[in-house]
Symmetry: C2
Subunit: 458 residues, 2 copies
């Protein structure tokens, strides 16, 4: 009987302790959310990054200002060390970008277009040719060289609005922009006009990088706003002989130096083990880069500020990583991964915030089933704030390269229904950020890092 | 052995059937979402209601146009019957609404204000007095009659940004607007200026109804935009002798006739049992009423259109109810409940959509534990679309009155983080509606009604 009694007491003490632990965590996580929601620093920092710095391609003066600015605010947020990681980046500079439609039936009209990043220029004299509409990459071979040769290919496959994930819709349509120009050139096209990748019908052109294949003629390429893509398609239906003239003078100069910038708080117990959280600091020059990805950068820094404000001293070293060059060549993520390879630094977990600054929904986890289960076990701390999804999924382009080191990769997931309305366009401005939604995202990340730091991921 | 074998087979058949059932439901619900996401009718209807009709107090010509318009689109959506329910509504008409701050220290400046619905006017000569800042209703007795008498009371308690629910924040601060003027008058105040109920700091004044107590002097009252509430508070700190002059000429005329309008699809099996879904058709005159509550009205109608388009014939009779007068006196909900009381119509379930047109999150259910459990059991059909919350909670002001009839009451819950940025203000415009988010809300409601109709709620 004594033995049983002892066992029962042990069990009760265990249950009591873990309940007490859970309650203590709940209280701290509540404080984390209240700190985030009651403070304007993150919102104000994002305003500065979006409005006073603005679009920031990796090769731009704006990117250099963004590096200095985020270094400063990371210090203010409590970083004890600021690290810089140099890299060479492509030096593509946007120039003129205009387009006009000429129809013998309807007359002429200007189109709203945006040069694709890394695209070759038409030069100031422009490019004028007949147009053939193509419904996605797979449609090129249906049309064939005979119909395509000498023409401007108009890729007009819209993002599918009926899919569950807007990112899946984007992924399925993005090939037109990324590979379209080279694929079209294989059939003799002389230029490419690509429907903007958005679910909205409006007059914002959505830029983005295009990648040319070696050995294939490089043809100029622009994106066209969806309102004008619809118009062009309608005109083409009844006037297949219409022509487009477009002028782009964007050009590629020799590579230049750019940098990742990292804020670090040394861990109290395991200073050599890292938990990192980051976003990409570069943003398309036609936007303010508020949702993509100013929000992710500022939220990463805010985690540090919240810890500092609440006196939470992480056991592991914590880093906020401002990755450079996500939009063009990914040199920032390559450079960071190289650093980890060279130093052998142990990275426990890496969270990427690069899906916009809207209401937090959950986290995608790229790890073993056991780790996913462990993280999901913390769900009860998040659900009262509407954060409910803890599931297997992709992290992101920047932290993804740490997979080879066994790091647990996590992708922060906000509500992405409206994300592509902004993405890569002049519509991605600070005004489209809701303060509370931004703050809730910071808090969600801070809460998750608090738990990972406290309990590890074994 | 034979008996066991028979039992096992019976079990397997049961499991197989319920699995097949589940799969069939999944397919139909997938179709419901795809229909909603692939069709522009709801978005276009909401554009018309917001932009071409606009703000629509129950007593206004706009409300009458909204009744005709929604009757028409309900017919187009497949309603076989249109019902009208008459009621008398308050006939309050907004007039001039201006305010100026006079400080001997800082000079004078205009303030952005909005008259409160049902407020008595100052008259064209205006009201000028010294100002006392009050931090919520509970602060009145701290200040006392001596300090308040003869002054304009400035209620400046902000919505608490750190709470989990923005509706709770609103609820805790809204007393200042609804009861503030009468409470202040008890201490001798001559007018009231109320901080706009929003979490944003901006220049939109948020109106809303105020309710005077009988036997207490009725004093004029306006809401002030949060940017100017902050400014007024700052000025008051260093110049307690400053004065405000405000002019309101809004007036109350004798009651007029208004209407609920209802679209009905007769049920194939249980025509005398109703499932209803609705929102309120009236909206503040200073807004377009896009989120509050054009979205809820249009989503309710869209459920009917989706069913019609997919050939889903409901077993129960289905109604989309456009409640009138939610914003002022609630006559629409009173009238509908009276109709149910008089006719004895059986109402199985009533869903209210009145929390804005953002991404759907779930449903609040006001019913027995068994019913909540049954509805929660359908969660797996919703989760792939991010809809995860099925929990006990309040339905809404319009369907709430059906509780006495044993109706299962349900409140549709979208993501409400940014809702109060729009609520009751000129910022509640169609541009703040995201098409996909609106469509997902329609689909969520259609899917829930499909399941309730098919399986009942016993």
């Amino acid at each position: 009987m004594k033995l049983y009694a002892a066992m029962i007491i042990t069990c009760l003490v265990f249950v009591y302790n873990s309940q007490a632990q859970d309650d203590a965590d709940s209280r701290i996580i509540e404080e984390i959310f209240k700190e985030a929601l009651g403070d304007n620093t993150a919102y104000e920092n994002l305003r500065y990054l979006s409005k006073e710095i603005g679009g920031r391609l990796p090769n731009s003066p704006e990117a250099r200002r963004a590096v200095s600015f985020t270094a400063r605010i990371m210090r203010e947020a409590g970083a004890d060390t600021i690290l810089y990681q140099d890299m060479m980046v492509r030096n593509w500079i946007r120039g003129e970008e205009t387009a006009t439609l000429f129809s013998q039936k309807y007359g002429s009209r200007d189109l709203i277009v945006s040069d694709l990043g890394m695209a070759v220029p038409t030069g100031p004299e422009g490019l004028r040719a007949k147009v053939i509409e193509i419904n996605g990459l797979e449609d090129l071979k249906n049309k064939g060289e005979e119909k395509i040769k000498g023409k401007i290919v108009f890729f007009n496959k819209p993002m599918d609005p009926t899919l569950k994930s807007t990112f899946t819709s984007y992924g399925r349509a993005a090939g037109q922009r990324v590979r379209g120009p080279s694929e079209a050139a294989k059939y003799g096209a002389v230029g490419a006009v690509i429907r903007s990748l958005t679910l909205a019908t409006d007059t914002f052109p959505h830029t983005g990088v295009t990648r040319y294949e070696d050995e294939i003629p490089k043809i100029p390429a622009v994106s066209i706003c969806t309102a004008h893509a619809d118009l062009l398609s309608e005109w083409l239906d009844s006037d297949p002989t219409l022509e487009i003239r477009f002028v782009t003078t964007g050009r590629l100069l020799p590579d230049v130096l750019s940098q990742n910038v990292i804020g670090e708080v040394k861990g109290a117990e395991f200073p050599d083990k890292y938990i990192i959280i980051g976003g990409h600091l570069d943003a398309w020059d036609t936007s303010e880069g508020a949702h993509d990805d100013g929000a992710g950068c500022i939220q990463s820094i805010e985690v540090m500020r919240i810890f500092n404000e609440l006196g939470i001293e992480p056991k592991h070293s914590l880093r906020a990583v401002m990755f450079m060059d996500e939009e063009v060549s990914g040199e920032g993520s390559i450079t960071y991964a190289e650093h980890v390879r060279n130093t052998g630094e142990a990275h426990l977990a890496a969270i990427e915030c690069d899906r916009g600054g809207t209401s937090p929904v959950g986290f995608y986890i790229d790890a073993s089933d056991e780790v996913i289960q462990k993280i999901s076990g913390w769900k009860n701390h998040f659900q009262p704030w509407g954060i409910h999804l803890f599931t297997r999924g992709g992290s992101g382009a920047d932290v993804g390269r740490l997979k080879e080191f066994g790091t647990v990769l996590i992708g922060f997931l906000p509500d992405t229904q409206r994300y592509f309305d902004y993405h890569h366009s002049p519509n991605d401005t600070f005004e489209k950020i809701n303060k509370r939604e931004l703050q809730l995202g910071s808090a969600a990340n801070a809460a998750l890092i608090y738990l990972i730091d406290k309990y590890g991921l074994e």
